[in-house]
Symmetry: C2
Subunit: 165 residues, 2 copies
């Protein structure tokens, strides 16, 4: 990827190609979130709740600080979401055993049910897209996404991948 000195390999990097990539990313992200959004709209929840539930399911026992680093929001934003999830009995916050300042977060059975419902919808779309595009395209898709992340984001993403191999 470094020494594409002359010409052929750079032909696809025209401004127009890049702009189409940008727009594709915009439209695709809309599709990507459309199904969960539809489900969430029928409840009193939004996308933020989805993200919280997703990552708590992914890393049970995680702390508030850890979660807000992953989500890239402030404590207060996350707190509001978390509070409603706890009040509604979807998430349980246990006082940390080692450090009592920490709260370890877990999904209740009810929370896990919502997570499944949301991620089933999202996975179905992802699966359809993957299947339509084929394995080779998927590999390329993943490669470009990785390259598009910031260093920090990429590290968080890698950590999650390795967490459940």
């Amino acid at each position: 990827m470094s020494d594409q000195t002359s010409s052929d390999a750079l032909l696809f990097l025209t401004d127009e190609q890049l702009r189409q990539g940008i727009e594709a990313m915009f439209f695709a992200y809309r599709g990507f979130t459309a199904d969960p959004d539809r489900i969430l709209a029928t409840m009193a929840y939004g996308r933020a709740h989805h993200r919280a539930v997703h990552f708590i399911n992914r890393a049970p026992g995680t702390t508030v600080t850890n979660l807000l680093v992953i989500l890239g929001v402030t404590k207060q934003s996350l707190n509001r979401v978390l509070r409603s999830l706890i009040e509604d009995g979807l998430v349980e916050a246990r006082v940390g055993s080692a450090d009592k300042r920490e709260r370890n977060l877990y999904l209740t059975e009810k929370g896990a049910a919502l997570e499944r419902k949301l991620s089933d919808a999202q996975r179905n779309r992802m699966r359809a897209a993957y299947r339509a595009a084929g394995p080779q395209a998927v590999a390329g898709f993943r490669t470009v996404l990785e390259a598009m992340m910031d260093g920090d984001l990429r590290r968080r993403h890698q950590a999650l991948k390795e967490g459940s191999p």
Copy 2:
């Protein structure tokens, strides 16, 4: 998940693979919007203004209705954004010549300057990602994104692509 009878080709469709794709999409989109967001934060504008400016630049003379279909927001949401852009002299709304009910939207020089600033930042990141991933990966990336869009979104996206070939 239905007919993974024998086939090698479907091995990449495990739930774990799909989940990683979902998370990659989440983190990558954050990176994707990070640079423009940083620039916009220094002004009184947000992501909504960026989107409006982007698509007005892309399709000069577009109408309000057309724009809100592309952006997928309501008239009122768009109108608020548009009003501030017009007041600040970034966008010009000319009464339609054929149909005088319509307003044709154009960027002023000032608006075009902002658009360039924002899209330069975003294109730079896109270019870096494309370059790092290579042409084949980029082709796959585009294929999967297309497959991830809703039918409507895909049609809008195609129309934009063909609009400036």
